[in-house]
């Protein structure tokens, strides 16, 4: 594969130009990646991207600020079983993510995993991830990625991670006044299309939020972005807008996704969209390579483009605070 090296793309400014006029903040993304390259926190708070160099005064403030409400971590795309040049040791990087979580100044209440737990849906791959994540001692909520439902329409995934889920694995729950909605958009995909939720799930979603007060903060998580990140590479969900239309009344909606193996954000009215790092391998910025596959970066730079997302909800604040931090 001839994917352009991320750092080369950056050097020649490839991802700085928005030829697609699709509203993706590539500058913000670029800035974030640039900071990540020097060891930084990329922060999206109230829809504004802020980067803090680790150890700087601002970064120190971020770390030590008093928090309340709710705190959780999102991890994504661990791709256990992947062993190609883009990362020959996904066990080590997942363990590094666990170390990162365990070293957070404020321990999270729980963890969300936004899919592609495994690379090939093998029981041994799921076993490995479960074993490694045990070291966090946290409750973990999962949604499947397409790599987790390869040969059985998700039966094994639901057996392991979706015992109380509905349909193909969707569910909702409440934590400290925040309503969490886990969606599945990686099954029954139509030729030529994008991710899909399907009518049954949309119906369930409409019903699930009907009784909720509009002041209730909502967190939606699913594998493939619900917003149109880059449809040319399949980075979007055909009926994602339909799902979001049911959430219009809410004052604070946070949509957390994986799949694209890089951090991106967009704010539209009351909705903050955000995608997380992978713990396994990076993928190119939209359009920066011929295809969306695993991207090889120099091995000493790999852990700067992998990471976790720390999410913080303060009761008196409107939007949730999202802090992406790379593994190193």
């Amino acid at each position: 594969m001839t994917n352009k090296n991320l750092f080369d793309s950056k050097a020649n400014g490839l991802i700085e130009h928005d030829h697609n006029h699709d509203g993706i903040d590539r500058r913000g993304f670029l800035k974030c990646m640039a900071w990540a390259g020097t060891g930084a926190l990329c922060v999206i708070e109230g829809g504004v991207l802020k980067s803090y160099a680790l150890g700087s005064q601002a970064g120190g403030k971020m770390k030590s600020r008093k928090v309340g409400g709710l705190r959780f971590v999102q991890i994504s795309d661990s791709h256990m079983g992947f062993n190609k040049p883009a990362n020959p040791d996904v066990v080590a990087t997942l363990k590094a993510a666990v170390d990162k979580i365990n070293a957070l100044p404020e321990s999270p209440d729980f963890i969300l995993h936004t899919g592609d737990i495994s690379h090939l849906s093998k029981p041994s791959e799921f076993d490995n991830v479960d074993q490694i994540l045990k070291a966090t001692n946290k409750e973990i909520f999962f949604v499947p990625g397409e790599h987790d439902v390869l040969n059985d329409d998700g039966a094994m995934f639901r057996e392991r991670y979706g015992k109380n889920s509905k349909g193909q694995g969707w569910y909702s729950f409440d934590k400290n006044g925040v309503h969490f909605i886990a969606l599945v958009n990686v099954m029954n995909l139509k030729a030529g299309g994008l991710g899909a939720l399907g009518d049954d799930q949309l119906e369930w979603l409409e019903d699930d939020v009907r009784h909720l007060k509009s002041s209730r903060p909502i967190v939606v998580f699913a594998h493939i972005p619900l917003w149109s990140v880059y449809p040319q590479w399949g980075w979007g969900t055909d009926d994602g807008a339909q799902a979001l239309s049911y959430l219009k009344k809410f004052g604070s909606v946070t949509v957390l996704n994986g799949h694209v193996h890089q951090t991106m954000q967009k704010v539209e009215g009351n909705v903050t969209f955000h995608t997380a790092f992978s713990t396994a391998f990076p993928q190119p910025a939209p359009g920066a390579a011929e295809g969306p596959g695993p991207m090889k970066v120099p091995s000493e730079q790999l852990r700067r483009v992998l990471g976790i997302t720390d999410v913080n909800y303060l009761e008196n604040r409107h939007a949730l605070g999202l802090v992406d931090s790379s593994l190193v």
Binding site: F82, P85, E146, N151, K190, A191, G192, G193, G293, P294
Partner: protein, 118 residues
Amino acid sequence: MRRRLLNSGLSIALPLVLSMTLALPVTRAKSEEAKSSAMEVRVDNFTFALDTLTIPVNSTITWVNKDDVPHVIASSDGLFKSKALDTDDRYSYTFSKAGSYSYYCSIHPKMVGKILVR
């Protein structure tokens, strides 16, 4: 979507003599008419090397995955579907009736292709 064709996007396996493989660089078109009865379609960079392929009845198509991620070959109407193909894995299907057969990758549905059987 902008695509660049890769070298040896198509190879035709001649069933005659010593099962010799002739690699043809595909430079002009994304569709080919084939006279042989066994053909290979490379899956590379999230695309099918040939997105339209015309073959005689009873030809066998073999898809081979050259990507670092798995793909699943599935006909759009449910006629055939492979297991997940990891890197270098292959899947073959023999088309015994004339017709037009659309297929796609069921986990990356932006990847689509068509087989015309005559």
